[in-house]
């Protein structure tokens, strides 16, 4: 078996693989989305085979505990990263305040062919949020409140944001810069049951100048909405975007008629009445799932520990004695350094 594996374990092949991987990484430099993934996958697979063969056959690796740990960890990282891509999920979702997460509302959904997570069973409810802004409209910390089941029939309040994701069954929900407002409306048709829903306005304050959207109620005309907000936004000073404190006047335009509504007010339109219940807000999340994350971390840490152990055993903390180097000698003593 070694006769087969030994050629594959060649250090020269390792160098070839490294050069190919460097070329692949250089090709994807700055534009990973448009470069074929194969420029990285092929050299990595090549190196993984080479590494596996070297671990099995090369006594300079497999008889040195530290070095062996490092190389097994490298192989483990490649395998785990591949598994991670096959089982991963990345997606986005926008949640309106006081509504529960629904897996049906995901967009920009990308998942590996082996993804088997149970996203449908996740339960949490979006609460209010605040976002700090520094002068010059520089975004600061986001505090997004969510409620998750506490396991005893109640709800547990959590505040997440920026680098503090909500983690549920391995799914990690990250707040994003994408957030805004959503007027809560009730459509009362002339015949039939009233319907309540929200109209998502574009992200705020990114599209502060363009807070408009359209909606066509069942049996009614298409309605154009424009939201005039009072949030305290200013470029010159620090301010806090707080959906709870924001006020919004809803401008409703259905054909020739233009009406401004305050929360609680109603307008009669062809086919029914529209009531502006209140101003709500929505928060955009990035969802990330990769079941290998913790294992990747542990494996990588073991790799570094292995390399450190190898370094320590090989070199210790001292300079080598002069006679350990055959092609020259020196001595460094308190009396001075001599060069020969």
């Amino acid at each position: 078996m070694n006769a087969v594996l030994s050629p594959l374990a060649s250090l020269r092949l390792t160098l070839v693989g490294m050069v190919l991987l460097a070329i692949g990484a250089a090709l994807s430099y700055g534009n990973p989305m448009t470069t074929s993934v194969w420029v990285l996958v092929v050299p990595m697979a090549f190196l993984a085979v080479n590494l596996l063969a070297a671990i099995i056959t090369n006594p300079r690796i497999n008889r040195r505990g530290g070095l062996l740990t490092f190389h097994i960890a490298l192989l483990g990282i490649v395998v785990l990263a591949a598994l991670g891509r096959l089982t991963h999920l990345e997606a986005h979702v926008e949640l309106v305040q006081d509504t529960a997460f629904s897996a049906d509302e995901l967009f920009d959904d990308s998942r590996g062919p082996w993804h088997a997570g149970d996203l449908d069973k996740l339960v949490f409810v979006q609460g209010p949020y605040t976002v700090d802004y520094a002068p010059g409209m520089v975004r600061g910390l986001t505090h997004s409140e969510v409620r998750v089941p506490d396991g005893q029939g109640g709800w547990e309040r959590r505040v997440i944001g920026d680098d503090r994701p909500l983690v549920l069954d391995g799914y990690r929900f990250y707040t994003s810069f994408n957030k805004g407002f959503a007027p809560l409306l009730t459509w009362m048709p002339e015949q039939g049951e009233p319907q309540t829903g929200v109209v998502h306005m574009p992200a705020y304050p990114l599209f502060e100048f363009k807070q408009d959207n359209t909606w066509k109620p069942p049996g009614g005309p298409e309605i154009k909405f424009w939201l005039r907000l009072e949030t305290g936004m200013t470029e010159k000073a620090a301010w806090v975007l707080d959906g709870q404190k924001a006020k919004g006047t809803l401008v409703v335009n259905s054909g020739a008629e233009r009406v401004e509504l305050q929360p609680g007010e109603t307008v009669k339109l062809p086919g029914g009445q529209l009531r502006y219940e209140r101003l709500s807000s929505w928060m955009g999340y990035k969802i990330f799932y990769d079941p290998t994350l913790q294992w990747l971390f542990v494996t990588a840490v073991f790799g570094v520990i292995g390399m450190s152990v190898h370094f320590w055993r090989k070199f210790g903390a001292r300079l080598p004695a002069a006679d350990t180097i055959k092609t020259g000698s020196y001595s460094a003593t308190s009396k001075g350094v001599r060069y020969e």
Partner: protein, 285 residues
Amino acid sequence: MNEWNTATELPWLWAGMTSYALATFIVIRGVMHTRGGAAGAAVNRSYETPAFIFILAGVALLAMALAERWMRIGHGPFVNLFELLMSQLFSLGVIYSFAYWRYPAIRASAVVALPLMWILGVWVLMLEPRATPFPPTYFNNWLWAHVGLGKFFLGFCLVGTGLAGALLLRGVPRLQPWFRQLPSDAMVDHLAWRFMLLAFIFHSAMLIAGAVWAQDAWGRYWSWDALETSSFLTWLALGGAIHARLTYRLPMRAGAIFIIVVFIIAFLTYFGTPFYSSAAHKGVI
């Protein structure tokens, strides 16, 4: 607003750089002074202590500059090029002064290492000390681990590169006497690679800490953005150089060139990529 007049850290920075400059001058004068000694004779080491004192003074003054800036702008030196260069000058000084103190035999390599630090020194003195807002994704302890480990990496890389540069310069007949204090070429080569191996360990740890931070900050541990790709290429170049040395038993001077190439790639990764890339990793998002 022009911040030249309000940046209270500048006097400390200039004083620190002056101290580094004096250390560089003393080291160069010192090694030049050894050229008259006969082979086998004890060589002049009288310059080493003053040089060491000036390096340490530079480190202390830069620490004051960093503290002053931190108090002025309210956050650590993590965001813009000015503060990144300043903190690197500090950390490189700390690590190099430790190596300088711990391994007396390699002190002549300061002739190469200190001028390399001066590339950063001249650069930082030309930049406006403006403050940049601290991004929300930087409020994370893993950032400290990532940055700290990276500083160890670059520091050990600098020591190794100093030795590699000295090894190459010693091949120039006219400069050979400058490096009489250094041990044999084989020993210098051995030590240089030892420091590069240490750098490799810290670079690996830096990548891990960075991946954990990126997962928290941007919801992905690795996305091949420009800075990640650059740092991976640095890791690969260093790993490849170590393998090449083992596989082909590289001649010492070829190995020294490899080390310098790795340092150049690392230098470009640290001080080039983050400031033209538009990826989130750049910082302010």
